[in-house]
């Protein structure tokens, strides 16, 4: 059917266009682009490293926080909460997924960042300041703020999928554990959650993919400074943010091409991460089939 071919054409075309657009940059800088920290539109020297750093670190913070909170919430909602609590809370968490990212960014910029700058960051600097992670000046915007905001944005993904996976674990496993004299908590942690292990990891990787690609909210709270620093309080820059901020100002064709190459890198990372997520979840589905 024609519509289907059009659909295929769009997807394939996307990839090709990105490659085509970044050709100039690819050929000029070669693979060194990836570990170069230069970013100077004036001298036309570009490198992706600070942006890869910013993207990776902010997403890492996000996924660590979101998987802990998300899996915990899913466990509670699937196993322990009575229906009159589980339904409204599940609904609220799903609603979190519908909020536009610019609204998250707005809230992050005017509410989260000041709150962190006023209370949490100084506390961390005071208690854990000996670690390079929490040293340095506090601006409010920075890697930590962005990581936490991203975490809030991807928690629904982790929680919703994990909850479905846990509910799908066959009841007979729970009964087997209970009949041995285990408590509900022991049953959940020792039997039910491990049974859903692969799928839960897939959900986390999927959420990671979302965090990596998030643009607007990250831009508004990450500080937009291409620098690599050890401190989480420091401002940084993500791949998507720099594209967002500088694309319309890009003057030379090399500049544009470099930005397009950043887009290509983002595309490739996203495909790899999402692909692994699907693989993990499929492997779990396959194992569920009876021998």
């Amino acid at each position: 059917m024609a519509a289907t071919l059009l659909f295929v054409a769009i997807v394939v075309g996307l990839f090709l266009q990105l490659v085509h657009g970044s050709w100039e940059s690819l050929t000029t800088f070669g693979p060194g682009f990836i570990w170069s920290s230069a970013w100077n539109p004036v001298t036309n020297k570009f490198g992706a490293l600070p942006f890869i750093f910013g993207t990776v670190v902010s997403s890492a913070i996000a996924i660590v926080v979101a998987s802990v909170v998300g899996i915990a919430a899913a466990v509670f909602l699937a196993e322990f909460a009575p229906p009159f609590i589980a339904r409204p809370i599940s609904f609220l968490i799903e609603l979190l997924a519908a909020v536009p990212s610019v609204v998250f960014g707005l809230w992050g910029l005017f509410v989260l960042a000041p709150v962190l700058a006023r209370s949490v960051d100084p506390f961390l600097a005071h208690t854990l300041g000996f670690l390079p992670l929490f040293s340095g000046p506090i601006y409010g915007v920075g890697l930590l703020t962005a990581g936490l905001l991203l975490a809030l944005m991807i928690v629904p993904t982790v929680a919703a999928i994990t909850r479905d996976l846990i509910l799908a674990v066959p009841n007979e496993l729970r009964e087997a554990s209970i009949s041995l004299g285990a408590t509900r908590w022991e049953t959940t942690m020792r039997v039910v959650v491990p049974a859903a292990r692969a799928g839960i990891m897939g959900a986390c990787v999927l959420a990671l993919g979302r965090a990596l690609g998030e643009t607007i909210a990250a831009t508004m709270v990450i500080g937009n400074r291409p620098a690599i620093s050890a401190s989480l309080f420091a401002p940084s820059y993500t791949l998507s943010s720099v594209i967002a901020n500088e694309f319309t100002e890009a003057t030379s064709s090399l500049y544009i091409s470099a930005l397009l190459e950043l887009g290509l890198i983002l595309f490739v990372i996203s495909v790899i991460v999402n692909g692994s997520a699907r693989l993990l979840m499929f492997s779990m589905l396959r194992r569920e089939r009876p021998r």
Binding site: A98, V103, G213
Partner: protein, 284 residues
């Protein structure tokens, strides 16, 4: 051990602690949503008034003005995107539902999965290379195209499920009546799948309504009324972004107002989708 013996306290307390910690986490996530909504409502409420909804933005530094052109622009862009995404998405879903098992079908499903995970800014870049670069100027249409691409995976997936969900008996009934195959599809199968397709459509619209990133270099934004999709257009989420990162307090206030409008629209669409879903399943 006596039958009436109690559970070892260590295990009991561990279980209790576990429930409390996990319950706290779920309350945290749900609570943060409420906090966020609360701020948007509290801050945005003061900005909403008739002039906000009907006027154009004022020049930089002058207070007042509204986001009317953004609202109109959003409607136009999303509208065009819906018109483009609907046929492609539904028909592709139809193809997958009918020719489900071949290698080609699996490949298309794979592409849809890949597409759904892509960062929206990459899709914006794609729209830029196709519709902005060659023409030399920004346009609402390029934004609509980006939105179409964003809507497609969702539409394809829900359409396929919706059509698959129509019992084979219905299709056979159409054949038995002598309807030709196309007639069967058009008059019987699609209407039967309509509730789920509508749900998918509403969800897809809700998804793109809040999108901002691709707009940065497709629609680009505008200070003026612009109904021509061939020209740069204002868009609500883009305006919110621009106002928010500006240094002006009045613009910040308007950003909250715009956010309130945006969230209200997205919530209405989501709830509408749920209603369509429940009404559809009730009919079955």
């Amino acid at each position: 051990m006596i039958a009436g013996a109690r559970l070892e306290p260590g295990r009991r307390y561990r279980g209790l602690a576990g429930v409390l910690v996990t319950g706290f986490c779920s309350a945290l996530a749900a609570g943060l949503l409420i906090v966020l909504l609360g701020y948007v409502i509290a801050q945005g409420w003061t900005a909403i008034n008739p002039s906000f909804l009907t006027q154009l933005p004022r020049p930089v530094g002058v207070t007042g003005g509204g986001v009317a052109n953004g609202i109109v622009g959003s409607v136009i862009i999303v509208g065009i995107a819906t018109l483009m995404a609907m046929p492609i998405g539904i028909l592709t879903g139809l193809y997958l539902a009918v020719y489900g098992r071949g290698f080609a079908a699996e490949f298309i499903r794979f592409l849809a999965e890949v597409l759904s995970g892509l960062p929206s800014i990459a899709i914006g870049l794609f729209a830029y290379t196709l519709f902005v670069q060659p023409f030399g100027h920004f346009s609402g249409f390029s934004a609509a195209f980006a939105f179409t691409v964003l809507m497609l995976p969702l539409m394809v997936r829900t359409s396929e499920e919706a059509i698959r969900g129509v019992p084979i008996a219905v299709r056979e009934g159409a054949l038995a009546l002598g309807l030709p195959d196309y007639g069967g599809v058009l008059h019987v199968v699609l209407p039967a799948a309509r509730p789920l397709i509508v749900t998918g459509l509403l969800l897809a619209i809700a998804r793109v309504t809040g999108e901002t990133a691709p707009l940065l270099f497709t629609a680009f934004g505008s200070q003026f009324w612009e109904a021509n999709p061939g020209a740069p257009m204002a868009e609500l989420s883009l305006q919110i972004f621009t106002y928010a990162i500006s240094p002006y307090d009045d613009w910040h206030r308007q950003a909250w107002g715009g956010a309130l409008l945006l969230i209200a629209a997205v919530l209405v669409l989501n709830i509408g989708a749920r209603l369509a879903l429940s009404r559809g399943s009730k009919r079955r």
